[in-house]
Symmetry: C2
Subunit: 342 residues, 2 copies
């Protein structure tokens, strides 16, 4: 069983992939995945389910999330670089459950393409397992599927599924948020995994255009667009007890995501200019002639994660994280009023 990770063999054989190559790939994925195992993992790969023995908790709450990486994949395909896409997938998932205060426990992936390309799968798995190891999360299952006719030639999709745990009394769900609480923003590493449909429209996905060097970025636009989604877990983990709400700024920007954690009757006033907007966003806006409002609706605009806490705790948080910025405060909501970016 140890030599037969379920995800691969039959598919490869059906795909006509050379059997030695297939065996090598199966061994490769198995070795990489096993290196992420923690003591609670009590099954090997190749079993029908992944078994994870939950440790001792008073009132354990399981927190789970599913994510894709959207059309950032098209940039990866255009440049033939797939390792960072694996990192993106893991970090997006880890950040999502971090918003509830959860510690990541285990992960599954799904990789599907028209015709299996072992080099692409290996790169993705390299990125995923390296990111998972950093946060102590185990890759205990997954599937690699060949779907001719469903996927376009050369295209693939990648889905991640994460489960974490938090004690019930430690759940962060925004319910404790009050009027007057401080709103803190943390900078992203770039676009993270959102806004790629618009970004690709502006810069195209032709390799020669992606290889154009932009002095304000200090690198090519392709390198900038492939910058992996930042993981906030290691930094925020020790600070979670004082945080009342965390919003992961994904599709929909601050306006679309911050309301997801605010209790009824409250909204937020965000002060434009209270943080630095990274050069990539100004470049996108200029090159694409995009309106301000649209920029804030599509992109994170330099805020990858939003934290809400009391004003006193906010001062301590910004001391602990020098890159954190006060970006606004929680206010009473007039009927129908949305988050205000003033």
């Amino acid at each position: 069983m140890a030599d037969k990770p379920r995800r691969a063999k039959e598919t490869y054989r059906a795909a006509g992939v050379d059997i030695n190559t297939a065996n090598e790939l199966v061994r490769f994925i198995g070795k990489k995945a096993r290196a992420t195992f923690r003591p609670e993992v009590i099954s090997d790969l190749g079993f029908f389910g992944g078994l994870f023995q939950l440790g001792s908790y008073v009132e354990p709450v399981l927190v789970s999330s599913t994510d894709g990486v959207g059309t950032k994949i098209k940039v990866a395909c255009a440049l033939g670089r797939h390792e960072t896409i694996g990192i993106d997938l893991v970090h997006h998932c880890v950040n999502d459950i971090l918003t509830c205060g959860a510690e990541p426990l285990f992960f599954h992936d799904y990789i599907a393409m028209s015709k299996l390309e072992p080099e692409i799968v290996e790169s993705i798995v390299n990125g995923m397992t390296s990111a998972l190891s950093t946060v102590g999360c185990a890759l205990i299952g997954g599937e690699t599927a060949e779907m001719p006719g469903i996927y376009s030639e050369g295209g693939y999709d990648l889905v991640g599924f994460i489960v974490g745990v938090v004690e019930k009394k430690g759940v962060i769900d925004g319910k404790a948020i009050n009027k007057g609480d401080a709103i803190i923003g943390l900078p992203p590493s770039g676009l993270h995994t959102n806004g790629y449909s618009l970004a690709r429209k502006i810069f195209s996905t032709e390799p020669q255009k992606l290889n154009v060097f932009y002095p304000e970025l200090g690198r090519t636009i392709g390198e900038e667009l492939l910058e992996p989604h930042r993981c906030y877990y290691p930094m925020l983990k020790p600070l979670l007890p004082v945080i009342k709400g965390i919003a992961h700024i994904t599709g929909g920007g601050i306006m679309g995501n911050l309301p997801r954690i605010l209790p009824p009757g409250l909204t937020a006033r965000i002060e434009r200019g209270s943080w630095e907007i990274p050069p990539i966003f100004s470049l996108i806006q200029r090159e694409g002639n995009v309106e301000d409002e649209e920029m804030y609706r599509v992109f994170n605009m330099g805020i990858g994660m939003v934290l809400v806490c009391s004003p006193v705790d906010a001062t301590n948080l910004t001391k602990a994280m020098p890159e954190a910025r006060f970006i606004g405060e929680v206010i009473e909501q007039k009927v129908g009023e949305r988050v205000i970016i003033a």
Copy 2:
């Protein structure tokens, strides 16, 4: 938050789907998903993570699995019928974790296509949530993604993630299997979700060919091929304590899946003719002129689930499940020997 399931709104807007249609779809998915909730679900849809408070267990083992439904999707697309594909996805996942003795707790889905088609998503969600409700499993998260250029026009992919739980002392992992143990087979509902590449090659996916009526099936080949994957959980749940090993017969057939639960040094001798082979398999073999060995390697051949238990318990099991058949026994393995289908 209650009216903003995360999975949908932004994507639909970007897709240019009419905003009223989009809002209706969001409400539809939310209503269907909430109807599957169990008391342990302590978050609403639209949050960054799904929160599930685990009940009281002595030594809880979480069992998780990821599955797609393969190219059965192409048959669904050809016939414009997508509800059963949602059922397939859930049952495949539930059966997978059932092999470890687990009770299903919660589920996430990922639906992606080139351009969002609300009717297709609704049909899939109808099938999924109906299947989930039957086994008491909650749909607490998911993602619906529009990926132009990644998926072929009109094609889509569907991935399911399931988490279940079992007490450590109730884990079924095949370790207790001995020489002389009985092997029992349970009939499937059809092809389940495997062998569709070969089946499609033989019958094509042109609607007019899928609509051909076959007297031995009592229905059209399209209806037969879309028959949803059977769920064994309700039937097997009360019988789990006496079962030593369960193999879900998916890609690779009996030969590929039974060895996954057999301890080192043991293999199985399966008696051909000890169960009835459903007409669809004979039809495939005849129409495609497929060799016997290939049939057993690709299809379940009439055995959807294999159970291993002591000979005494086997007698009781077959009494409790009249459709169960003794199909073989566990034997000592000579060096390099695989499962024997004699």
